[in-house]
Symmetry: C2
Subunit: 356 residues, 2 copies
Amino acid sequence: MSEVVDGLVTVIPAGGVGSRLWPLSQPHRPKFLLDLLGTGATLIQDTVARVSPLSERVVIVTGERHAPAVASQVPEVPAANLVTEPSPRDSMAAIALAAALIEERWGSQVMASFAADHLIPDAEAFRATVREAARAAQGGKVVVIGIEPTEPSTAFGYIEMGEPIDGDARHVVAFTEKPDAETAAGMLARGGFAWNAGMFVMRTDVLLGHLDRLQPTLAAGAREIAAAWDGPSREEVLARVWPTLTKIAIDHAIAEPVAAEGGVAVVPASFEWHDVGDFDSLAELSEPTGGAVSIGREAAVATVGASAPLVVGGTKPVVVVGVDDAVVVESDEAILVTVRSAAQRVKDAAGALAEA
Amino acid sequence: MSEVVDGLVTVIPAGGVGSRLWPLSQPHRPKFLLDLLGTGATLIQDTVARVSPLSERVVIVTGERHAPAVASQVPEVPAANLVTEPSPRDSMAAIALAAALIEERWGSQVMASFAADHLIPDAEAFRATVREAARAAQGGKVVVIGIEPTEPSTAFGYIEMGEPIDGDARHVVAFTEKPDAETAAGMLARGGFAWNAGMFVMRTDVLLGHLDRLQPTLAAGAREIAAAWDGPSREEVLARVWPTLTKIAIDHAIAEPVAAEGGVAVVPASFEWHDVGDFDSLAELSEPTGGAVSIGREAAVATVGASAPLVVGGTKPVVVVGVDDAVVVESDEAILVTVRSAAQRVKDAAGALAEA
């Protein structure tokens, strides 16, 4: 059997600044355009490389501002498959437009949607799970890939898994928003929960059918834009209709209500997955040796009376004295000094600087 | 009365790297050559400017390596008064050579010795104290200027003050080495102690006379070098004799034994004095506003969940997130990240980097 899943179209919504990774990520240089781990590939390059063996067609939805950088970073994606949004209108609009465009161009297909800025070291395991999810999606379910939790994280939504359907797929009982620590610990103790990493696999006709019922304005708008996309009136229709599309996440628009109707399945996955949302997770991901972690820099890092720091970017030697778990990040624009325990607060750094 | 003290010669030993101020200070760029507070004047420039209204003659003793920089920074000091040491042999050798050279050139004079890298904001008050000390020195005492303690510091030696002599001068009972915290607190509670800032004022014949008795080899060596200094054999004599001079601090060679004999007087001074030995004291010195302290930089500094940091050097905006009392220092060579409470450990930073 060929590894490619016949007809599968991968949709990659490439949005989100990643503001907790400032000053690496900034509005003009969002996280997905970064080689965050210094591997030589940016996150979107890594994402495209991961899905390409699975699906012959890849569609990327991104902001107009970032389209040139995306086109330059992933030249293997045809320009026609680079869908640019005039403004951000949340994930449902992006995915609905992609689904409608797929139907216009190629008829109803199974589509798989994956964020552009997540990290999955074992691409083969990932693709095996997606193939399983695509099989389940053929039957008419909205399928979500559920990540096996490794800790009671409060950073992710959870999927409550029910009875088996067939193969690895199980019914989804419900989606849970990001829990507090106690709730998260309880879910891990009870078992049967998976992290929701926003990975959805479904037939375009199934998705758009649900959308016609649940978000009819959004569905109609997405279909209208898609119908005009490859013709002369794209700009006019886009300018007129896009700003009217309901701003809503796919979780609220589709996943939660359809799960309540019994229409969502989950394929549990045990592959390692990281959203690398902040410098604490970046440090954790990069620290197998226990020594200082240097990313994207050549110069030395040393410590005096301090545990191993994370140092990203910059060209000068860095010495950390007496600060445990330090994080020192230098971009072309600025220097951030923090500690891993404060990683969440980095999202306010750019604002603080603007006011300084 | 003219402000100048007739015949007074100021000697400025300019040595000491200031390793707790790394990476600003380094062996090739010691603390006294730095504009540490961003005032536009380096510490040695500030020192020369402070003593110039007092004494028509200023002699600087420094290492050969730093002589060009010193000559460039204080061109008002004649080249002939720049005494260069082939190697560091502690403070007594430097001051003894200066004293002997003064006698050779100008006969016995009152000399005043002040470190090149201390900070005294009120130069007028300083000069008034030196004038008082010079009067006391005329009578044959070794005179030390005692700084009124503002806290039970463990970073300085203390002077135990005894009975009044005349004017402001008092006998010195004894010198105490850097105390532990309990001893320091006890001395402050009892009163009658002053900090020893290494400021000595005395007649050259008195100093050399004590030295002849107490450190005869050093005295003879210093006199031999001084006699040859302004003639053709300077290099030969210096190369032969200098390495044989006893390595000892003036405190141990002169101040302590002469005090025990009753030959040292102290003139208490209430002017503000700082040795600015580390980034904690630099921050304290620079923080009247309570906001972030920026020295030698133009770019903005901001914080998120952190008290006001000290940021020195560098050209990029710096944001500190979740680290109180942070210190971020950028030189041409390196970046230091620490906190004020770890300021003492910075002395090990260069070594740690060399091993990294």
